[in-house]
């Protein structure tokens, strides 16, 4: 399979890339890892006029921690996230990273690219929604920070402007009373999730739930933040009964399509079970029983 013809530019500075986007960004796509974009171009679902390869631009691949956030650069690969000490500061991220694609794809694919692509079956978007992540979008006129909830509009659709690129993903680090988890069912390594559930918990000094995040993969036309399930937990004492209620609400919120990976009913059941399981795992970490 071959992509339609396109022009290729490989700028060596961010300024150069941004000025290209300012000129005619709507005809361009940014090539970071390319592990989702190139397959789409090969099947001609995507036919950009020009590819802007950002891999020659120095300084975009870092993963650092500052002001309670983990900052993941536009060229940080999934395997960089797995190896990074800074990324371990958010337990949902650390739990999800080894489940992204397969080990070889993880050498190229990036978190920022995955979010910008917003395949509704991508894992990182659920992690971003559950953890309250933000994205830094940069253009030649400046930068703005957008919450993932506003960035992720619909399948393959984000709120990025044609003259902007994602330069950084900013994920809140968990406190010492926080925990997170990612549950993923896949038929084989590298397959899309049959069901994925991202969870994140923060406990208050009284041991009650001060903050809760739950987001679902592959069971709705886009990654779904289970807001009712989240709201039901805040201010409550964590318990298996509470997590069962959250599981029920998350399962109610989703609308999975039946396909070769499972029936709609089956996937909905897995959402219920995974939500409870993920919250239980998150709680163990939040209470200091895990790492």
């Amino acid at each position: 399979m071959y992509p339609a013809r396109f022009d290729y530019v490989a700028p060596e500075t961010l300024e150069e890339a941004l000025s290209l986007l300012a000129e005619r960004g709507s005809e361009m796509r940014i090539l970071a890892g390319g592990q989702s974009l190139l397959p789409m171009m090969k099947t001609r679902l995507a036919q950009p006029d020009t590819l802007v390869d950002i891999n020659r631009i120095p300084g975009l691949g870092g993963i650092t921690r500052a002001n309670g956030q983990i900052l993941v650069g536009a060229l940080a690969r999934h395997n960089d996230v797995i190896r990074s000490d800074a990324a371990k500061g958010n337990h949902t991220v650390a739990s999800a990273a080894p489940w992204i694609a397969d080990p070889i794809v993880r050498n190229l694919g990036t978190m920022a690219g995955s979010l910008a692509h917003h395949d509704p079956e991508g894992d990182w978007a659920s992690v971003a929604l559950a953890t309250g992540a933000e994205l830094t979008l940069t253009s030649s006129t400046g930068s703005r920070t957008v919450p993932a909830t506003e960035f992720l509009v619909d399948m393959f659709t984000t709120s990025i402007r044609p003259d902007e690129m994602v330069t950084e993903v900013r994920i809140p680090a968990h406190s010492s009373n926080g925990g997170g988890n990612y549950q993923k069912l896949e038929r084989k390594v590298g397959d899309y999730a049959t069901v994925g559930v991202a969870t994140s918990l923060e406990l208050g000094a009284d041991g009650k739930i001060a903050g809760a995040g739950i987001a679902l993969t592959s069971v709705y036309p886009h990654n779904l933040k289970a807001t009712e399930a989240e709201a039901a937990m805040v201010g409550q004492s964590p318990s298996p009964e509470l997590f069962a209620e959250a599981g029920r609400l998350a399962a109610e919120a989703c609308d999975p399509a039946g396909d070769t990976r499972g029936s709609s009913e089956y996937k909905r059941h897995v959402v219920d079970v995974f939500t409870q399981r993920g919250l239980a795992e998150s709680l163990v970490i939040a209470q200091g029983g895990g790492s």
Binding site: Y2, N55, D102, V105
Partner: protein, 158 residues
């Protein structure tokens, strides 16, 4: 677009279309057919090569992206005309049947051993989980990579 790619220690210059896939540059332009094409969709891993030592699936990378990089394909594994430890181990432990996935398996194994000289069975299986083999059931592939790690460690200590 003019590119220069170092493949197995030799610099190759070529004028290529941006849409040329790296795997087709290697097979078609350079005639190095040890790198295979299986699924063409980043799933099977038989097109795996090393770019600057890191395994990537060359069906999902453009040749122009490799401009200025160093590539190792299966043809580059041999050491001074002799089999490399991983090639010798695959031969010794019958790590292949039809051979279609073998170049990729050996390259992934080589990269793994470079990073982790004494991988456990789990770590080997994890490393090759993006590479499909439809013949062996993986048992002898895992055995071969572990054996190659042992030979490499002995060589390093000698």
């Amino acid at each position: 677009m003019n590119i220069t790619v170092n493949v197995n220690g030799t610099a190759h210059r070529a004028d290529v279309e941006p849409r040329l896939l790296l795997v087709d540059f290697i097979r078609g332009n350079l005639g190095l057919t040890g790198t295979h094409v299986g699924c063409d969709t980043t799933s099977c891993g038989v097109c795996t090569i090393l770019v600057d030592g890191t395994p990537i699936k060359s069906c999902t990378v453009l040749a122009v992206q490799a401009n200025g990089r160093s590539i190792t394909t299966v043809e580059g594994l041999k050491q001074g005309g002799a089999l490399s430890p991983i090639q010798a181990a695959f031969k010794e432990h019958h790590g292949l049947q039809c051979g279609f996935c073998t170049p990729a398996m050996m390259l992934v194994g080589t990269a793994l051993i470079a990073e982790n000289p004494d991988p456990s069975e789990d770590e080997v299986r994890w490393a090759i989980s993006g590479n499909l083999c439809r013949c062996t059931g993986y048992i002898n592939i895992v055995k071969s990579i572990k054996a190659a790690a042992a030979t490499t460690r002995e060589g390093a200590n000698a």
